[in-house]
Every structure is written in C-alpha cells, then in structure tokens.
C-alpha cells in the first residue's frame, strides 16, 4: 500500500479532511469540540506547561499501516535535519522539560537518529522512542537497536494492535505480527520488559477497526497472558489509544461506511475528566521541519501553534505556556471514553 500522498488522494490534504469532518458534524448535528469543552469549563484550553517535547523526526517508515495518522510509509521522504535536531536539543535543555519523545514514521530511519539520542542522553532527560518493532529486523544497520536503546536507557514504546496475527496484520501489513514478536524477543533478550532491568518496554494497543478501546488494565492483562503463554514475550505496560478520524484511518472510515457512526460514537463518549488531562496540555510537538504544534495529530493536520513562537528555533517557555491550544472536531478522539493520549488512557 502506498501513502495517501503518493496515491494522489484528496485525503492527503488537511483541508479536505476538515471539510469531511465538518460536513458529517453538520449533517449529524454534532456539537463543536470547543462547545463541549465550554460546557466542562475548559475553554479556552491552556497548557499546563511543556513537560514533554515530542519530536517527529520524519514521515519515512518501513510500514504503511491502515490507521496511520501520519500517512507515513516508504514513499515519504520528509526527514528532520541534524540542524533542526540541534535546535530541539537546545529547547530540551530547558529545566522544565523532563522528557524527549521521539516519533515518526519509523524514527530510526532518520540517518541522524542515533546522534540525536546520544546528545539527548547527555542532557540527562528521559528519552522515549516510538519504535514500530519490525524496524529492528529491517536490515543489518538496525539489528543492534535493542542494545543501542538499552545503552541509553531509552524507554521503548511499540505498537502492537493485538496479541494475534490476523488483526495485527490486517492493520499493519502482512507478516508484521510475526516480525513484531521476533523483535519483542530481541528486546526481552537485552532486558526490555524484564522486571528489575531498569529499562522499560511499553506496548500500544489501538482497536483494529471502527470501535473504541476498552478498559486499559483488562486489555493489559489479556496481552500479558497471551504474549507470555504463546510466545514467551514480556513487557511493562500497555497503552490503549483511540484511532483518530484523520488521514488513513479517515480513509478506512469513509470506505467502510463507518464514518458517521464513529464520529457520533466519539462525540457521545466525550468524557470531561479525560478532557482535563489531554496530552496537548503538557506536550509540545515538533514537526520534521522544526514547526511547532500542540500535538502530533494537529501536526499532521497542519494546525500550527497559535502565538508568537511557531518554530523550535524560537523556543520560549514563557510564551508557549500562554498559548491557546488549537481545537477541531478530531479532538473528540482524545476525550472519548477513558480518554486517549500517547501514554494511554487518561481517566
């Protein structure tokens, strides 16, 4: 499968995505997300600070998952330069930022990825990498990634949509499940997911279709039991994440005739407790070209940050803390049910 962009799909345009979401919302008389927040006393939504710097180092990926909100894939060439990474490191030095969260695409495919991790490691910050697992088996130059991660005590966060092959491969591509299990075993071998090792492996579950994730703790128990019994694989925690109705998941919703009901579902499942804890309040998202966003979803919808600071090169904590977070209908995806963030459920 090619990316939406490579296929010349209209859905690769954020304008078209907004048009579709707005059209459904009007037709189904769904309230605006901002109105819902207002009812909960949360509008306008302000940040609580910048605790996590989430850096998207590029859209290049070895997989083309059907639900990908980045529209990443082997045909995407957008890659963060070393110079922009250096600017991220300057911002990361801010004492208020505790964590660097590196994402992509497959972030490891950025040629300066390892240098970036090494430099961030020197700053003594917590480092997280969104690793798609199969990259570990994608060739000789990636084979020692588990050891590299372990050396720098990188927290590995890996998507595994399900503990069975069928549903995982349907979402992420044929053969992805088997290769993911093999990669998990390699991570376990160097200590990841092993109690007392001091290095953390967390998995990310997201539903294999047009439904919401259930209770995170029950899912975590199921995943732990099934992966341990069937494959001898261990991990620390499971993060349950809701599929966002944008980009390639929006394409799936449209093609499968599920768009209206899915949007209705996330709107009617609005949870004010989850809304109060959404990740955009303590996270700053950096795009491959250094542009700033409230979150990775806003980034993919070209919703650049409001306010004076719009580039990581101009990072200014005080100014960023005062900004108003930009909201659109897709934001319901983070506030449905138990809520959803890069760290899983919120409420």
């Amino acid at each position: 499968m090619k990316s939406l962009l490579a296929r010349g799909s209209e859905l690769s345009s954020s304008k078209e995505q907004f048009r579709i979401l707005s059209e459904v919302s009007e037709r189904k008389a769904l309230p605006l997300f901002a109105e819902k927040l207002q009812e909960s006393g949360l509008f306008p939504l302000f940040p609580t600070g910048v605790d996590i710097l989430q850096v998207n180092v590029g859209k290049l990926c070895n997989q083309t998952c059907k639900h990908c909100h980045v529209d990443a894939g082997p045909d995407r060439k957008e890659i963060m330069s070393k110079e922009t990474m250096q600017e991220c490191l300057v911002a990361l030095a801010s004492p208020k930022i505790s964590t660097l969260d590196i994402t992509g695409g497959a972030p490891e495919m950025n040629p300066n990825f390892r240098w970036f991790v090494e430099e961030a490691s020197k700053l003594g910050k917590k480092i997280m990498v969104r690793c798609n697992l199969t990259i570990v088996l994608a060739g000789e130059k990636y084979r020692d990634l588990p050891e590299f991660f372990a050396k720098h005590k990188v927290e590995v966060v890996s998507s595994l949509p399900y503990f069975q092959k069928r549903r995982t491969d349907a979402q992420r591509g044929e053969g992805v499940f088997d290769r993911s299990v093999e990669a998990l075993k390699k991570l376990n071998e160097v200590g990841y997911g092993v109690p007392g090792s001091g290095i953390v492996l967390n998995l990310v579950y997201n539903p294999g279709g047009a439904f919401l994730p259930g209770g995170q703790s029950t899912l975590e128990s199921d995943f732990k039991r099934e992966l341990k019994e069937n494959f001898g694989v261990q991990f620390n925690s499971l993060f349950a994440i809701t599929n966002m109705p944008i980009s390639r998941f929006l394409e799936f919703l449209l093609e499968s005739g599920n768009l209206d009901s899915y949007l209705e579902k996330i709107v009617t499942s609005f949870n004010p407790l989850a809304a109060a804890g959404v990740m955009c309040r303590n996270t700053l998202s950096v795009g491959w070209d250094g542009s700033l966003y409230d979150c990775d979803f806003n980034q993919m919808l070209d919703m650049q940050l409001e306010g004076e600071v719009t580039k990581i090169s101009d990072f200014n904590q005080a100014s960023l803390d005062k900004r108003k977070i930009r909201l659109e209908q897709h934001c319901y995806g983070c506030t449905a049910g138990a809520g959803s963030s890069c760290g899983g459920s919120l409420a």
Partner: protein
C-alpha cells in the same frame, strides 16, 4: 424493502435511553440494574459481554447483536471468542428444541403397539 418499511432501525439503538420518556422511575431502576449487571464482578465485564452476545442471538435482538458485537471487540475479545459464544447460544437453543423430542419419543411409544 426500504429501511423505512421495517420495524427495526439501526438509528433506534441510540434512543434506548429514551424509553423513560413516559415512565422515568422504572426506566431508571432498569438502567441502574443493567449497569450493575454488566460491571466487573465474579465474572469480568468481558465475560459478561460475551454472554450477552450469545443471549442476543438466542433472543434474536438486532439491537443487542449490534451493541454486543461492538462491545466485545472493544473489550478486546478475539473473533474466536465471539463465535464460540454465539455457538453456545445456538447449542442451547437447538438443544432446547431437541430435548423436547423426548416428549415426542414418549408419545410415539405410548401410541405404538
């Protein structure tokens, strides 16, 4: 036949909460009970959802089948678990018919020479 000429409309599932319009007290009691029944207890919420899916097929409630297929998936059930639950319902339903054949058997023997 167009959907408008049927008794069942998928859109009506979302109106389940409106059944209290003319009798809120009893509806509240029902929904409180319903919520308690499906909460985690000696059985997990997922196990209860799978039972509900099986029963939905036995009582042939399209709203329930829609709701509990979604619910079991949301609770992380596998497709195999869904289908085994449905077969449990089918087996009981089929068995319930067949066990009555004992009555027919008795009658055959009673009437025979």
């Amino acid at each position: 036949m167009s959907q408008n000429n049927t008794y069942y409309h998928p859109e009506d599932l979302k109106k389940f909460g409106n059944i209290g319009e003319f009798g809120p007290d009893l509806a509240k009691k029902f929904f409180d009970y319903y919520g308690s029944v499906f909460a985690d207890g000696a059985l997990s919420a997922k196990e209860k959802s799978l039972i509900a899916l099986a029963v939905s097929h036995v009582v042939q409630c399209p709203y329930c089948i829609d709701a509990y297929t979604t619910d079991t998936l949301e609770k992380g059930a596998t497709e195999e678990q869904l289908w085994e639950a449905i077969h449990v319902g089918a087996a009981i339903r089929g068995g319930a018919s067949l066990v009555h054949s004992v009555q027919a058997l008795n009658k055959v023997k009673e009437l025979g020479i």
